[in-house]
Symmetry: C2
Subunit: 298 residues, 2 copies
DNA sequence: AGAAGTGATGCATTTTTTGCACCACTCTAG
DNA sequence: CTAGAGTGGTGCAAAAAATGCATCACTTCT
């Protein structure tokens, strides 16, 4: 879009940290880029960048402006999407940031199912911890976020909530495998692997452990649930995961048992968008589809 | 703002109904304007105007686009206003659409009072009936609207509400002048002047009259409260107005008496903005100032 | 049938943007 | 302390883009 070219340049400069580097990235001369920015600042009525001896950096005015432009670009896409929709085109693009737990089963299933009836819609999926997911929303990098126990920044508008009880994953020959519900203290008696602190599962475990006397003493700490799931096969340890990230068939040699709600409260899987934003049709429809799917789970 | 020039042209064409007329308005050649629009439509990915034999008209896509652009311009002003504010400039512009009743006393007082502490802030005031006021909000022509009994479209977000009992205005030698509260049927026995149907006062009277047996039979119907106020001096008739539009001093020869709430319910004076919009600092602050003033009245 | 509208288009002209060379300046490495 | 490699800023000529003019094809109303 031609009239947003200045923004593209501004964003490039912001990202590169210097006009010359940005000019190089954008295949343009530094002088031309420099003058574009000067001209824009003059029209805008205020400087956008601080001139430092080693480059430039957005000043507060610039940060507000960039946020404005991002919202603007996002809204323009929404309009284009709606225009395409009213000519019956049913196409568009949906970008989703989601927690790791949703990567192996839930998201692929949902997206594939949606694309059966909307083959013109394309997707981008980003794995993000709960903090990064919310940042993606507020910078308009993602339309939707599906996150377990987010920090809930002000920009996060909840579209749907689904409770998830943390489960304990282990081999079926593990001593605890016979029970139906597990107490946290029993789990901590056995070698356990836990996610790193940025994850909601770990956060809930930390809070729960702090209430009791037993501390979490992981034999392995990892930021990949995929890794943890495979690790417990080798050292007969236990791992933690939410049900939506698990799919155990009878002969897999693994079992997953829920943690007692007396010890660890259920967390929530939240579907959200940037607060106040009107989503493009494709994203809004896919969000609705996710809502139905999450309702079916709960 | 340079990057919104296309929008200025598009709006001009929309307003003029033809490219040539718009080109004339904008001091540009029709061919140049024509090509700008063609280029824009190509970049946008869809036609914006219907080409009719006698000119052009926005198509649905174009209407969505114009709405988008208006929101965009409005938001850019908000950003500029905030930028100016953070450098301590305390300037800006506030546009208000308001009912006629507020024109003689309330708005001048409020604006003058606000400008004492914020001399850098400028104002534009438009008299609008309740329907036009809401349209002004949703097309971003006004930041705020202060209207008596609006129709309440979806785009109208209420910021403050103040009840207003309809008063009957007459000369102090009028037969009814001695009462303290008036019944509607008594009023209808005397020659009365009423506002035209677009006004909230008339609407409330119509509804009230429909409940009883007495019909409204105005000797004069007018769309100017100023006219009506002066008319009752000449024919010793009665007129209707809400208290905020009245200021009677003892020796003026006029009295205003409230209508009984048994006959005519109180209407509401509503301060509102475009739903979901973030107002520029100046407008938001002035709205806050109006809220306090309205609270003091109620 | 003709006049007066409309939007579209090819081509020369004008305006704007860009690229190049260079300046003034600040840091850092030797 | 100096030399070099960064940085943003600027004058001037070349390139690119937007504009104006003349004209076409078409519809509507007189």
């Amino acid at each position: 879009m031609k009239h947003l070219q200045d923004f593209a340049y501004i964003e490039a400069v912001m990202q590169a940290g210097s006009i010359r580097k940005a000019a190089d990235d954008m295949n343009i001369t530094a002088s031309a880029l420099n003058r574009r920015i000067q001209r824009f600042e003059e029209e805008f009525g205020s400087e956008i960048f601080e001139r430092l001896p080693r480059g430039v950096r957005l000043n507060p005015a610039g940060e507000m402006l960039v946020q404005h432009f991002r919202a603007q670009v996002s809204d323009l896409r929404r309009v284009q999407s709606q225009v395409a929709d009213l000519s019956g085109i049913r196409r568009g693009h949906v970008s989703v940031a989601c927690s790791q737990a949703l990567i192996p089963y839930f998201m692929p299933e949902q997206i594939a199912r949606y694309r059966v009836s909307h083959p013109g819609v394309t997707f981008s999926v980003s794995v993000r911890d709960r903090e990064a997911a919310e940042r993606d929303l507020s910078t308009f990098r993602s339309d939707l976020a599906l996150v377990f126990e987010p920090i809930l920044l002000v920009d996060f508008e909840v579209l749907m909530s689904a409770p998830q009880t943390i489960c304990v994953l282990m081999r079926d020959d593990h001593p605890l495998a016979g029970q139906s519900v597990l107490r946290l203290r029993d789990c901590l008696d056995h070698p356990h692997v836990v996610p790193t602190r940025q994850y909601g599962v770990r956060h809930l475990l930390d809070v729960a452990a702090a209430r009791g006397t037993r501390a979490i003493a992981p034999v392995v700490e990892a930021d990949s649930f995929d890794f943890m799931r495979h690790y417990v096969i080798h050292e007969n340890a236990i791992a933690f995961q939410i049900p939506i990230g698990l799919r155990l068939w009878p002969d897999s040699g693994m079992v997953a048992l829920p943690l007692s709600s007396r010890d660890v409260p259920s967390g929530n899987l939240l579907l959200g968008q940037m607060r106040g934003r009107t989503l493009p049709v494709a994203s809004a429809r896919f969000a609705q589809s996710l809502r139905l799917a999450l309702e079916a789970i709960a």
